[in-house]
Each structure stands twice: as C-alpha cells, then as structure tokens.
Symmetry: C2
Subunit: 111 residues, 2 copies
Amino acid sequence: MATPHALDRTLTALADPTRRAILQRLSAGEARVTDLAKPFDMSLNAVSKHIRVLERARLVERRRVGRDHFLSYRPEPLDAAAKWIAETRTFWAVRLDTLERLLREEDTAKK
Amino acid sequence: MATPHALDRTLTALADPTRRAILQRLSAGEARVTDLAKPFDMSLNAVSKHIRVLERARLVERRRVGRDHFLSYRPEPLDAAAKWIAETRTFWAVRLDTLERLLREEDTAKK
DNA sequence: AATATATTAAACCTATTGGTTGAATATAAG
DNA sequence: CTTATATTCAACCAATAGGTTTAATATATT
C-alpha cells in the first residue's frame, strides 16, 4: 500500500487475534503494557509492537505516568469499518427492497 | 497465526483496498476475473491472487462456465466481523445504558 | 548511590504478502 | 487444425509482519 488509509490501518489492526484480544481487554478499561502482555504466550516486546499497530490505527491511546504507560481504547475508527461492512453487507437487501417497492408501486398504478 | 480462524481470514481479506473494491464490485452482481481486473493498474494474475484470498475467506464464490470463471459475492462472513465490531464498539455505551437504568430504577425506588 | 521495574529501540530471523513474468491448461472460434 | 482467449500455476522478488534477543532509557525503590 503506497499511502495506507485509515480504513486499511483499522482493518489491518483488527485482522490479528492478539490485537483483537488486547482491544477487547482495553474496552473494559485502561491498562499498562505489562498488564496487557501478561495473558499472552509471547514476549513483552511483541505485545509492545502490537500496541503500536493499534496506536497507528488510532484504536488505542497512550498516557504516560512516570515509567508506566497506560493504554486506553478509542472506538472511533471502528465506526468507519462498521459503516463499510454495513454498506457492503446490505447492498442486495436494499436493492431487493427497492425492487419490491417499485413492483408494488407499479401494481398500485395499474388499479 | 497457527490456525487462522474465520474472523482472521475475513478481516485480513478486508484489510486490502483492492480486495474491498473487488468485493463492492461483486456486491452489485457477479463478474469474471478479466472484468474484475480491468479497472486495476496491476496484472490479471495479481487480481487472480486477490480473488483467491477472498475465496479463502468465503467472501467470494466461483462458478466455472467453460473457460470463464464467474465470481459472486457471499456476504455471510461479514456478519461475524460486524458482530465483533458492534460488540467491541458499543461496550461502554451498553455499560453506560445499564448504569443509567440502574440509577433511574434507584430513583424510582426512592419515591 | 545502587538496584529493580517499565518500557522502547535496534538488530535480526523467518514466513507471508503483494506484486511481477513466463509457461501451462482448458475452452472457444476461425 | 490452428489460433485466440480466460484462467491458473510456478518461480521469483522486495517489502512487511510477527516474533525473538540484547541493549538502552527512564523512573522507582531501597
């Protein structure tokens, strides 16, 4: 991707199970890097990298307090993702609705 | 990912702009590989590969008619993705709703 | 001041991604 | 039968992803 756009970064961030788990954990409240890393069977550094991916996607925000970094959840980027999916998901439903309406109107006109 | 699960495959497939464009195109009706490739500034083979990613994610289905392969859109996998996002997106909203309801009930009880 | 804790930075490794080109396969059309 | 079209397969390549390990940095604790 030449200039990865917001939606690309959002969906890329969500496409990894570790990052989704981190996000869900954070959606319940902020946590430090060490706390987030605890449940995972990988190095702290690996989790630190995942967090950076989530940050780049603006799904996570960092607040430094002394040596601790508190991460918090920013849901906003999910809206664009949900919007894209909803639009694409319901395309045929919408078209069928429209078709049905048109047929109904045609019916009505005939009478 | 050891055994990439459905949601991983879905979100990975969606994380690429070319694939999202292909999917949206297909959501308007089926098309052949060549038709799909036309608008893109990349080789037919590259598009063919993108289609395979969408197929692996079950977002696209293939129907062979002679030498032509007709691809069609399968929206089902989007449901799980939308569900995940909706759950994660609305976590706090739900909690706040619950809190508000509890406070209201407590209020009512007082009277 | 010395040590322990929280975190990132940097270098490295391997596997995957997203693209290419060239050949193979299958079907259609002249 | 020969040629053109639609598509995949295979080999290759550079860039990225996801992990590791070993420093480096900053702040706390004793």
